[in-house]
């Protein structure tokens, strides 16, 4: 092996740093363990592939600075998915001092499969026997001292959930870090041991110089480890070593009755692990014939009822989003209304007052208004993730998805897409096949993200009664998803033709959602949303306000002011004032942009205000609402200033145009940030351009159809 090693004695500053690589199979609670160690706000889920990229966490303990790198979960060193590649490459090529291998105590034998591969890495290692509390409940007793002895690696019982054993774990890491490296004890079958001995004696004879032990080199050679091969390949001893290796693998393959050395080694590891488990694990109580997970599964993934149950859950979530979310929305709405009225008299300058009240308070208020809906949606998705139900849905839907050229696991990024497209694009990495991944990336946008929710809530509330709005919301989301599936089918038949990726997926145990975890997830996402409202969207609102107020047309103002002064009664005055505002708005910069693009959007029935809102929405969907807020608050009737945005929309936008507007919102690009992430995940900006063209064309055509059909029906 070729890793550089830092000599702890060489530099006293570096000596105080311990860099830990956290490795484990998916779903063993790595992220949760880091959470407990350092209180970091990592995202923890109960389906494979939550940590899509490596995350670094820094903390101090005693005299040491710890850097913990949380690597994506990997079942084995097979480089099957991108995550596995990330982990494997990191472990082989990067600099770190020690590995913490997190294993699930309730399923030790399977977890040791990865451990045994790690043992040949020539790195210091500590095994964290996580979920020890759960194992105890299931009557599993692990003798960790004996296990440490058998493996030659320190094993510590911990529970990330109950926060036990964490001190011991960190102390053990420090101890192992300070102690000289010991070789792990990994014992193979006689056939393999024989060949290892042959290679070792050969290396000894030639006094081959290496950092790794001869035994590990021998094992890696037999396993056909590419790096070890590459290293020895340039050495003169290679010419003699090669025939020995060929003979050796032939012997092992014969012994295992296979022509695949990796399969042979997997069987070797498995046999070794079975041995370890028999020695150190005691099952004190017999498990019930059917575990709780199996009982729940027999209902939730029932061939007949499974899908209706899932649809019911989703429907319930959207109902809740609307009904429950409505209550605090009224308070927030009231608050911003009151704030505007209170602030307004304190500012004497007309321009500044308009900027603060209409621009900032109006724009930001319109976005903050939807925080309750967003929170409910995020809680729903977090629940789906942490309980393990997400994998069940992937199981149920794979047959259906497959028809559309998608993979059952595409479901995970797609559902995440209902929350926010950015993590959705990132979680698409669980799909190994590039074509499948690109296809999924292209249709994630069809799953309406949380930021589009405000637009839907606004329009659904404006045109439908409170009792219907929840259903409308559900219909919008479902039809968006359906459109996505159809788009997938079309893309699969045209741009992404090819063989399907195999579907082999773990179905994790059901877990009760941890309140703390959900709280963390939802809090982080909500804060992100509000931060966006306070910075980016406030900025956009100010820009929209500026563009809609300037340039002032002094002639127009003069002409109207004369008329207004001449006006006899109050209503006529108000009418004229309103007309002035309208005309000023139309000749503003924003009005000009909207007017300029009007011919393009005329077939969809949009007025120029809607055009502007849509174009501003390319930056972020929240801006659509804030823009509408700014535009309609200024052009509205002066005698009814307290009118809500929803009322204004109902009065100013024809129903058919509103439908077409919603269709465009459903389909076109999610936001600037998401598009950037999309380009990164797809591998090229070229794809972002394709995505823009694809979504725009689809959005425009479908909006046109929707507009015409609605016109005919109403």
């Amino acid at each position: 092996m070729s890793e550089k090693k830092i000599d702890p004695q060489a530099c006293p500053i570096i000596a105080k740093h311990i860099k830990v690589a956290l490795v484990g199979q998916p779903n063993v609670g790595k992220s949760m363990l880091i959470n407990s160690i350092s209180n970091a706000h990592l995202h923890v889920g109960n389906f494979s592939g939550v940590t899509v990229d490596k995350t670094e966490v820094l903390f101090d303990y005693k005299d040491y600075h710890f850097t913990v790198v949380d690597l994506p979960g990997t079942y084995a060193f097979t480089d099957y998915t991108i995550e596995e590649r990330v982990t494997h490459e990191y472990l082989c090529a990067e600099d770190y001092d020690i590995i913490i291998n997190v294993v699930d105590s309730t399923n030790l034998e399977k977890n040791l499969q990865l451990t045994s591969e790690l043992l040949t890495m020539n790195k210091k290692m500590v095994i964290a026997l996580n979920m020890s509390d759960e194992a105890e409940k299931e009557g599993i007793e692990i003798d960790e001292k004996y296990m440490s002895e058998l493996l030659g690696v320190a094993c510590v019982k911990v529970s990330a959930a109950a926060k036990t054993g964490i001190e011991t774990l960190i102390n053990t890491v420090i101890e192992v870090y300070l102690a000289p490296k010991k070789d792990a004890k990994l014992i193979f079958s006689e056939a393999v041991e024989e060949e290892i001995a042959t290679i070792i004696s050969y290396l000894q004879k030639h006094k081959y110089e290496a950092r790794n032990s001869y035994r590990n080199i021998a094992i890696n050679l037999l396993k056909e480890n590419k790096k070890t091969y590459a290293k020895l390949h340039d050495d003169p001893i290679w010419t003699e070593l090669q025939p020995i290796l060929i003979e050796a693998s032939h012997h092992i393959e014969l012994h295992h009755n296979t022509d695949d050395i990796k399969e042979a080694f997997a069987e070797e590891y498995s046999a070794f692990n079975r041995g370890i488990v028999t020695e150190v694990v005691k099952q004190t109580q017999q498990l019930e014939s059917k575990s709780l997970t199996e009982k729940i599964d027999s209902i939730l993934i029932h061939p007949l009822f499974g899908i209706p149950i899932f649809l019911f859950f989703m429907w319930g979530l959207f109902q809740l989003t609307f009904t429950l979310g409505n209550i605090p929305m009224e308070w927030i709405d009231g608050f911003f209304g009151w704030l505007g009225e209170t602030v307004s008299p304190t500012i004497s300058n007309d321009d500044v007052r308009s900027l603060v009240v209409d621009g900032i308070i109006g724009g930001v208020g319109a976005v903050v208004l939807f925080t309750p809906n967003i929170i409910i949606l995020f809680i729903g998705i977090a629940l789906l993730e942490t309980t393990g139900y997400m994998s069940r849905v992937a199981f149920l839907l794979d047959g259906f998805f497959h028809k559309f050229g998608l993979h059952g696991q595409s479901f995970i990024p797609l559902v995440t897409g209902f929350g926010c497209s950015i993590p959705a694009y990132m979680s698409a990495r669980i799909l190994k096949n590039d074509r499948d991944r690109l296809l999924t990336l292209f249709i994630i946008g069809f799953m309406s993200c949380g930021a589009r929710l405000p637009v839907y809530v606004l329009f659904a509330g404006a045109f439908f009664g409170a009792d219907m709005a929840g259903n409308i919301l559900f219909i919008i989301y479902v039809s968006g998803a359906m459109l996505g599936l159809l788009a997938a089918k079309v893309l699969k038949m045209t741009a992404f033709k090819g063989v399907d990726e195999p579907f082999v997926m773990e179905m994790p145990k059901y877990r009760l959602p941890s309140l703390k975890l959900i709280w963390h997830t939802v809090l982080t996402q909500t804060i992100m949303y509000l931060k966006k409202a306070g910075t980016f969207i406030a900025g956009a609102a100010i820009l929209v306000w500026f563009l809609s107020n300037y340039p002032h047309n002094l002639d127009l103002e003069k002409a109207y002011n004369v008329k207004i002064e001449k006006a006899v009664d109050v209503t006529q005055k108000a009418k004229l004032e309103n007309k002035l505002a309208q005309e000023e708005l139309e000749q503003s910069y924003l009005g000009r942009i909207g007017k300029f693009t009007e011919p393009l959007f005329e077939p969809l029935g949009f007025d120029w205000k809607m055009n502007v809102a849509l174009q501003a929405g390319l930056a972020a969907k929240e801006v659509v609402v804030s823009t509408l807020g700014v535009l309609y608050s200024m052009g509205s009737d002066v005698d009814e200033t307290s009118k809500s945005l929803a009322d204004n929309i109902r009065e100013n936008i024809p129903f058919a145009s509103a439908v077409a507007f919603i269709v465009v919102i459903m389909i076109y690009l999610p936001c600037l940030a998401a598009t950037t992430v999309f380009a990164k995940e797809a591998g090229s900006w070229k794809y972002a351009v394709y995505l823009f063209i694809f979504t725009s064309v689809v959005a425009y055509s479908l909006a046109f159809i929707a507009y015409r059909v609605t016109l005919m029906l109403t």
Binding site: K110, F503, V504, E506
Partner: protein
């Protein structure tokens, strides 16, 4: 030869051979589906498009095409 796909719900079988392509084989092995492993069929999705199995203590979902590559024998 009996395939994993042919097993009915609740059946327990032993793996004899993996006939999968290289990638799929590595994937199955990393999940513990390898020679000598004991598998229990837990659940079928509609039309047997996807099946749920139990290997050791782990539950695994696979598609009909993949399940057809696993040769098994009755215990």
């Amino acid at each position: 030869m009996k395939k994993l796909l042919d097993c009915h719900k609740g059946e327990k079988v032993k793996v004899v051979k993996l006939n999968a392509s290289y990638d799929l084989k590595q994937r199955l092995i990393s999940f513990g589906v390898m020679k000598e492993a004991v598998i229990e069929v837990l659940e079928h999705a509609p039309k047997k498009k996807t099946i749920e199995i139990k290997v050791g203590k782990m539950r695994l979902a696979l598609r009909d095409i993949e399940a057809a590559t696993v040769e098994v024998e009755e215990i």
